[in-house]
């Protein structure tokens, strides 16, 4: 630790506070706009939301379809995460604790797909989903998302399973647990911290995802929030106030989670991103 004088420390903090205000200003501005209507906005773009039009959230929710988009986003991201955890965690456990031929090459092949730019496979995915009637369906999107999350999930969970002491496994074995019960009743609960991290990484990713969604979904009823925002902007580009309301609806769940679990979320995303490099 370098010695820094008390004065220097406060001077740096003051500078950083100003910087942080500037850094967060775009998001704060959006928050204020979400409570103002567009007429007020064009009279003074930087005014405070007085009076605050909380009703705009109801209007966006009910009249502009955000209800549907929000529901679809919840279904797709939780569906994909659940599928991914159920499927991926079993594979990660198997890769970590069993020995079988081609184990390492197989794992590396799955992991390497993390480097694939999504626009390479998406053209054929589109073709495939159209042919098998999964185009425009939430099911199709869930399957695609779950597959896209496999590499990072396997990577983090395999590392965690590998370092669980063998004694735990042996004790359970003596108690008569078969492989299936050993996994779900002994190992999976132990892996909860790693599973939480994987859930966070993928949930944020799927909630925000745009490329797969815009190519694979083409009807109003199946749109997720990012698609909903884009189409709303296309229809009512000038309605800045209402667009902002939609943006806030979209980020609110993530920001609430971040406010509660901020450290866990930063840690998980950093671990996930570094793992994927």
């Amino acid at each position: 630790m370098l010695p820094v004088s008390r004065f220097a420390r406060y001077a740096i903090a003051a500078g950083l506070a100003l910087f942080t205000l500037l850094w967060t200003a775009p998001v704060l501005w959006m928050g204020m706009l979400s409570l103002r209507n567009s007429a007020e906005f064009y009279n003074g773009p930087y005014g405070l939301p007085l009076p605050a039009h909380w009703d705009k959230f109801r209007v966006a929710w009910v009249e502009f379809g955000y209800q549907t988009y929000f529901r679809n986003s919840v279904i797709v991201s939780t569906g994909a995460v659940l599928l991914l955890i159920a499927v991926g965690s079993m594979a990660a456990y198997f890769f970590a604790r069993y020995k079988f031929p081609l184990r390492e090459p197989l794992y590396l092949m799955i992991f390497a797909s993390i480097m694939l730019p999504p626009q390479v496979s998406i053209l054929a995915l589109f073709q495939m989903l159209v042919r098998y009637h999964l185009y425009n369906t939430l099911t199709g999107l869930i399957l695609v998302y779950a597959a896209s999350g496999l590499p990072v999930t396997l990577f983090l969970l395999r590392a965690f399973f590998a370092q669980i002491p063998r004694e735990i496994e042996e004790a359970a074995r003596i108690e008569g647990a078969n492989d299936w019960r050993m996994y779900w009743q002994v190992m999976f609960p132990i892996a909860r911290p790693a599973v939480t991290a994987v859930v966070i990484i993928n949930l944020v990713e799927f909630w925000n995802e745009f490329l797969y969604a815009v190519v694979l979904i083409n009807q109003q009823a199946s749109r997720t929030l990012p698609l909903g925002i884009m189409f709303f902007m296309g229809d009512r580009e000038q309605d800045v106030g209402m667009i902002a309301t939609g943006l806030v609806i979209t980020i609110l769940p993530i920001l609430v989670l971040y406010a509660i679990f901020s450290e866990r979320i930063t840690q998980s995303l950093v671990a996930g991103a570094l793992g994927s490099s």
């Binding site: 054929a124 073709q127 990012p226 991103a273």
Partner: protein, 321 residues
């Protein structure tokens, strides 16, 4: 948090080592049934939604596909066309590479300076760190509209501020101007990811041997020399890993462009990713074959760049943070 972050790193290393030993110690043979239950679903997802589409795209690149059911074999014609008549792909490649390089040069030094500031244990450090990291959690589709407003010519804060300062001559529609549109987008991704890079740097700084740094300082190295000659070389591997991540991330750039400029004005912000998608789904002539050829080449290019970066920096990046 920082301690735990380092733990993640060591856990990874230990994990990899343990994975080998546990497996070696375990001798009971694995039955096919067991493998099918535990690995089957993952392999199914992987083969159907990752491997098959990849090879199908390679295959499609040799065809013209006016609808999903009709295909006409054209051999290497698509590739020939890319290299001879396509006037958009090369600017798109240039923009993508320009974006990757500028981002790396902006994000990483800014992040290092910010990390250094927080390393001095300033009051309120935790709040700063969390605030800077937050933009990374937002969707490109949320970030896009906000920055569209920020760059607005009539009432956007940048042009408004310039006019108040009497610099109205500099005010311009930032995204409508051929020379500023791409830099304006680069500013946005910098805003989004500086916080992430900073968190990684801060963890790296905290894991440095404190006594060496203190010793250097006591020996009269001074602030800047301690930073430049001792700390900077020690966090160099972290910077390398972050550079790889940053470049690869920007080579995939699609959503932000699509939401903010659609590649315009006049292709000035077109990236390879947006071009491939537009060519496939919004072109006058419907055809999946030609964009598949573009995607195939781009796949090889990203593979090449990734290998090049990893070889340049010699080490496996994830061991460093």
């Amino acid at each position: 948090m920082l301690r735990t972050l380092q733990d993640v790193g060591t856990e990874k290393r230990r994990g990899a080592a343990a994975a080998r030993t546990t497996a070696a110690r375990r001798s009971s043979p694995v039955s096919w049934g067991l493998a099918a239950v535990f690995l089957g679903p993952t392999l199914f997802l992987y083969l159907v939604f990752t491997v098959y589409p990849l090879f199908r795209t390679f295959y499609n690149s040799l065809f013209v596909l006016p609808t999903v059911n009709i295909e006409q074999f054209v051999g290497l014609d698509n590739f020939r066309q890319i290299f001879s008549t396509d006037t958009i792909i090369w600017p798109a490649v240039q923009h993508t590479l320009f974006w990757s390089i500028c981002s790396a040069l902006l994000e990483i030094p800014i992040a290092f300076l910010l990390a250094l500031a927080l390393y001095a244990r300033v009051p309120g450090g935790r709040i700063f760190r969390l605030a800077w990291f937050a933009p990374m959690l937002l969707s490109y589709v949320v970030v896009g509209p906000i920055w569209l407003w920020i760059y607005n010519y009539d009432w956007g804060p940048i042009d408004a501020a310039l006019r108040t300062m009497g610099l109205g001559g500099l005010a311009r529609p930032w995204l409508g101007d051929l020379s500023t549109a791409l830099p304006a987008l680069i500013v946005v991704t910098t805003w989004m990811f500086v916080g992430f890079n900073m968190v990684v740097f801060l963890a790296a700084l905290h894991s440095l041997p404190g006594d060496i740094i203190e010793a250097a300082y006591i020996d009269g190295a001074g602030w800047w020399r301690t930073v430049g000659w001792i700390m900077l070389p020690l966090v160099w591997p972290t910077a390398a890993a972050l550079t790889v991540l940053c470049v690869i991330g920007k080579m995939k750039q699609f959503a932000l462009v699509y939401v903010m400029t659609r590649g315009g004005p006049l292709w000035s912000t077109e990236t390879v990713a947006t071009y491939v998608i537009k060519r496939a789904f919004q072109w006058k002539t419907v055809d999946l074959g030609y964009p598949s050829a573009l995607a195939t080449l781009w796949f090889l290019a990203t593979l090449g760049v990734t290998l090049l970066l990893v070889l340049t920096f010699q080490r496996r990046p994830q061991h460093e943070a």
